[in-house]
């Protein structure tokens, strides 16, 4: 077909407003998944400072944990992880064919629950950094 | 130029079945269709397929019912073929996996339908046509049959001997809608028309927008007579605002018709004291309109069809689709309230004259399905008899075209058998507009009238037809100003619905002819606004409109000529069926531009018995 017209942006991004629950869930899950892999790699990199000397490890960790920004990022990580877990559970249920009609509600529930858990955990997470 | 053994025009139930049959006989077959096969209007059929499958039923009973339903205008050999082959063909569909509704014992379900003496309408929910169409398309995919979809067939390539019976068909000319290319298709063995109904002749119809009767018009202009065109079935239960059909299955299951006063009209006013709602369609349609005209209609427009008493479970099980249709297209939830219904154009009993093998009087040209008239339905079709017609005659036409010997047909085609000339008094001359300039090209009515002296080879016939169509299209496309088809089409539809509807009277019919003449004249000035060769629906519809004109005129001429009341054809001036004078088929031949009316007798002698016309009462 030579007569084609690429509607590119119009159709891909112009549509985000019209995305439905399932699509958002997919996007968030993807996003959180990628953040988690990213973190996994960083995490191991940081931990492997233990390979040089024990002191180097302790120093690195303590230095990092002292920084408020790291703590805030950790809260972010928590949010990401919690959402990924909750929505992951939702997806597992969907895979089992359970509650398909309530798929949008369960997505909203994951969001709300994530929010709640994160808010509740903030004190513990930032303790000692500020 | 493309070349195949057999070319099937149209991919509805009839076309698909024909293609499969031809392929089974070893032919190289291709389908050319203006719609992708699954878009064909066969998909809209709801009710079911009549087939005598069960103990206690027999094809003879089916034939008897059909003959009676036809008001004795069906040809017995065609009817008997239909009823004999239908069980086998229906089971064939089952073997191809069609998802029929099932009884408790796992066999296919059957239900009662109007005009049937046995519940023999085999169904798949209220979406039988959809299931049938898709099942057959699946077979097509399985067999790898070539489909040229979104190719609009413009015309047939027929040689031009003086007498139609001596002509032969060598192929078709088609227009690739996506690219705008005009191409010839050479058919070595035969061309099968399966282009469906002409619903667009009317404005309130259950038919699709694509049902413009192209095949009938093409065959007509090539010299094949149109048969019994005046018999148009109006379905008694269509939704008032769109014409969407509410299947007869609703009444088959026990749905009841009420007028404004909440009276069960079929009994209250004695339209059908025995069969009630399940009387034949024409009877019910007239009953409704009589009620409405007598001021007992709701909003003076429709009556009510109530099925609430059947209970939700049964409704969902058997008629679920109806619930959706009524909600989506009329905003009425039939589980809660009765559905508004009124009669709407539904089916054309007439069409291209064929014999029971699907062959027309032109060698190598076949027709099957709604566009054909082997005369199974006579003056009125029974519900559930069209789908078996598609598969039975589709198969026969396909097999015959591919060279299978089906025996000599008992029905004669063209003026080969007994026939008599007819006459009708028209207010204006019907037929092609003779104009001095090249507007006849726009008409598409031109035929190189060299009387067959050129004795062209098949290829030449096709090439010549391609040239003619190219000229027509160029003319339409280059013309810069004029009338647009939409105006003409809507005028024709309005006039037809007003004058050639359920109730017909002489003056109205004449008025319709006057209107049609005017429309034809305007059509010579038609032009296509869209200059594009890509997917030009403006052009396609302009050409379709021409076909609509031919069919509308044929319907009206037949209706004016037939001064009796038979089946679906009601005439104000003639309230009786007249077996003495009218046990004959109305035939109309194009005759180089001027419609020629003639008649041929009905065949009432069946295989074992002769059908005696009886009073048709339900």
């Amino acid at each position: 077909m030579s007569q084609s017209y690429n509607r590119g942006l119009v159709e891909d991004f112009g549509r985000w407003r019209e995305f439905s629950a399932g699509m958002w869930a997919w996007i968030f899950h993807k996003f959180t998944g990628w953040v988690l892999v990213g973190y996994l790699f960083t995490h191991i990199a940081v931990l492997s400072t233990a390979l040089t000397t024990p002191q180097a490890y302790t120093d690195t960790i303590q230095m990092l944990e002292m920084q408020p920004i790291v703590r805030i990022l950790e809260v972010g990580l928590l949010a990401v992880a919690v959402f990924h877990i909750l929505n992951g559970l939702r997806l597992l249920l969907v895979d089992l064919g359970v509650g398909l009609e309530a798929q949008d509600k369960s997505f909203y529930a994951s969001l709300v629950l994530t929010g709640a858990i994160v808010v509740a955990s903030i004190p513990t997470f930032v303790a000692g950094a500020f | 130029m493309y070349e195949h053994d057999v070319i099937v025009v149209g991919a509805g139930g009839a076309g698909l079945r024909a293609a499969i049959a031809a392929q089974e006989e070893g032919a190289d077959v291709a389908i050319v269709s203006k719609l992708h096969p699954v878009r064909s209007h066969t998909g809209a059929a709801e009710g079911g397929i009549n087939a005598a499958l069960r103990e206690g039923d027999s094809w003879e009973d089916h034939a008897y019912d059909t003959m009676k339903g036809s008001d004795y205008l069906g040809d017995a050999p065609a009817i008997e073929t239909l009823c004999q082959d239908s069980p086998k063909e229906t089971i064939q569909l089952e073997h191809w996996g069609m998802a029929f509704s099932r009884d408790d014992d796992g066999r296919v379900s059957q239900r009662p339908f109007g005009g049937l003496s046995f519940p023999r309408t085999t169904y798949a929910g209220a979406e039988t046509g959809h299931q049938l169409l898709h099942t057959m398309y699946e077979q097509l995919v399985k067999r790898g049959i070539k489909v040229y979809d979104e190719w609009y067939v413009l015309n047939l390539a027929v040689s031009d001997e003086e007498v139609p019976e001596e002509r032969s068909c060598h192929g078709i000319v088609a227009y690739d809608i996506q690219s705008g290319e005009v191409s010839g298709f050479r058919a070595r063995n035969g061309v099968i028309l399966a282009t469906g109904g002409p619903g667009q002749v009317f404005d309130h119809t259950t038919n699709a927008v694509a049902n413009t009767g192209d095949g009938v018009a093409m065959a007509y202009r090539a010299g094949v007579p149109m048969e019994d065109m005046e018999f148009i079935q109006f379905h008694p239960t269509t939704l008032p605002s769109t014409g969407v059909l509410i299947t007869e299955g609703v009444r088959g299951e026990g749905g009841i018709l009420y007028n404004e006063n909440g009276e069960r009209l079929m009994f209250e006013y004695g339209y059908a004291n025995n069969a009630g709602e399940l009387a034949s369609r024409d009877v019910v349609s007239r009953a409704e309109l009589t009620e409405i005209n007598a001021g007992r209609g709701i909003e003076d427009e429709y009556v009510h069809l109530d099925m609430r008493h059947l209970g939700e479970e049964r409704i969902i099980d058997r008629l679920e689709n109806i619930v959706h249709l009524s909600e989506d297209f009329e905003g009425v939830d039939p589980l809660e309230e009765p559905m508004p219904v009124k009669p709407g154009q539904h089916y054309a009993m007439g069409g291209v004259e064929t014999d029971e093998n699907g062959e027309t009087c032109i060698t190598g040209l076949y027709a099957a399905g709604e566009c054909a008239c082997a005369s199974v339905h006579g003056s009125n079709r029974l519900g559930g008899n069209a789908l078996p017609e598609l598969i039975v005659f589709g198969r026969r036409a396909g097999a015959h075209a591919a060279g299978k010997d089906l025996g000599t047909a008992e029905i004669t085609t063209g003026k080969r058998g007994e026939w008599e000339a007819g006459e009708v008094d028209t207010p204006v001359a019907p037929g092609a507009v003779r104009s001095p300039d090249d507007s006849a090209v726009a008409d598409g009515g031109e035929r190189a009238a060299d009387g067959g002296t050129m004795a062209a080879t098949g290829d030449e016939v096709v090439t010549r037809a391609v040239d003619a169509e190219n000229r027509r299209i160029d003319h339409l496309m280059t013309k810069e100003d004029g009338v647009q088809h939409a105006e003409i089409r809507s005028e024709v539809q309005k006039s037809m619905t007003r004058h050639v509807n359920v109730f017909r009277e002489k003056e109205g019919l004449k008025q319709a002819l006057v209107d049609l003449r005017e429309a034809r004249e305007r059509y010579t000035d038609v032009y296509v606004n869209d200059p594009s060769r890509t997917y030009n629906t403006d052009l396609i519809q302009t050409i379709e409109t021409r076909n609509i004109l031919d069919l509308a005129e044929a319907i009206t001429l037949g209706a004016l000529a037939r001064d009796e009341f038979r089946g679906a054809h009601w005439r104000k001036e003639h309230q009786e069926r007249d077996d003495e004078n009218w046990l004959k088929h109305t035939m109309l031949s194009w005759n180089e531009g001027s419609p020629e009316l003639w008649y041929k007798p009905v065949i009432l002698e069946g295989e074992n018995k002769t059908y005696e016309p009886k009073i048709r009462s339900y």
């Binding site: 399932g22 | 996506q178 959706h324 869209d530 594009s532």
Partner: protein
């Protein structure tokens, strides 16, 4: 066939080609004249409609996507506005037909049955895949924006190329196959009511392509079979009449890389399907069937 990567450049080139080479001069002139004339007519029409729109509030405001690779002025996609007089029960399809028949006969779209069964008029209406004939105008906010189905190549105006969709539908062996048919040509196969009930919804598909168009995965991965084709396979895989050998064969087809596993349960297919087919549920069931089927061999 890709809807993803048609490089704009290529498109431009081929357009240029159509312009200069393959179109005969006469045709070009003809087009030019028509274009001029059309412009005048459109101008008039637009003025008129605008006037009428002002005078008559009972009109629906439509914004319709226009594009034609061949016609000057339409090569650059644009939206045209139409003000269509409203009557009760009017659908988007009715409105489009009205606009075509009264304002601009070159407005192009597929449609046929007007009753949600032919599947030809799925379009992108107010940001969602819908069947136009089944969508009441009164359910929509104005202006009603009508666009061709996303993720498919636009042929012209609202017409998209469906070839790819058909290819996918036909890739799953969409036909009944069984090894033991009854002998007699009048003997039917038996099927329980329950089993027919199970496949019932899946048999309703009308090939409209709405689901495929709404699925982000299908948009990204052109080889993904897509919800409609998987549903088609479901229709046969779950049909008892085919027998267990066939079922296994069907699961093999579905299990390929671009088969069921690609589905990310976005549910948008299920949401847009005009025939209310529970597509996601069917896909998920097939995933589980496939896993079960394979566990047998471990």
């Amino acid at each position: 066939m890709s809807t993803q990567v048609p490089e704009t450049q290529e498109t431009e080139e081929s357009e240029a080609e159509t312009e200069t080479e393959s179109v005969p001069v006469a045709q070009q002139r003809r087009q030019q004249r028509k274009a001029d004339r059309r412009e005048r007519v459109e101008e008039r029409e637009r003025e008129r409609t605008e006037e009428e729109a002002a005078s008559d509030e009972n009109r629906y405001h439509l914004k319709v996507f226009r594009y034609d690779p061949e016609v000057e002025g339409k090569q650059e996609p644009r939206f045209d506005e139409f003000h269509v007089p409203y009557h009760k029960g009017m659908t988007v399809l009715d409105a489009l037909m009205y606009a075509r028949d009264h304002f601009d006969s070159s407005l192009t779209f597929r449609h046929s049955c007007r009753q949600a069964i032919c599947g030809s008029d799925a379009m992108f209406v107010n940001g969602r895949q819908r069947l136009c004939c089944k969508t009441q105008l009164s359910d929509l906010e104005e202006p009603v924006r009508v666009e061709p189905l996303p993720h498919q190549e636009v042929v012209k105006d609202l017409v998209v190329d469906m070839e790819h969709f058909y290819d996918q539908m036909e890739a799953v062996e969409p036909f009944f196959q069984t090894n033991d048919l009854p002998d007699g040509e009048l003997d039917e196969q038996r099927q329980t009511r329950e089993n027919r009930e199970k496949v019932k919804m899946s048999t309703r598909c009308i090939w409209c392509g709405a689901c495929m168009s709404s699925c982000n995965i299908a948009a990204g991965d052109n080889e993904y079979l897509g919800p409609a084709a998987i549903n088609k396979a479901y229709r046969f895989a779950m049909d008892e009449r085919e027998g267990s050998d066939m079922k296994e064969h069907r699961l093999r087809i579905l299990e390929q890389e671009h088969g069921v596993w690609r589905c990310q349960t976005q549910f948008s297919c299920t949401e847009v399907c005009p025939k209310d087919i529970p597509l996601t549920a069917h896909i998920q069931e097939l995933k589980r069937e496939a896993v079960k089927n394979n566990l047998k061999f471990w």
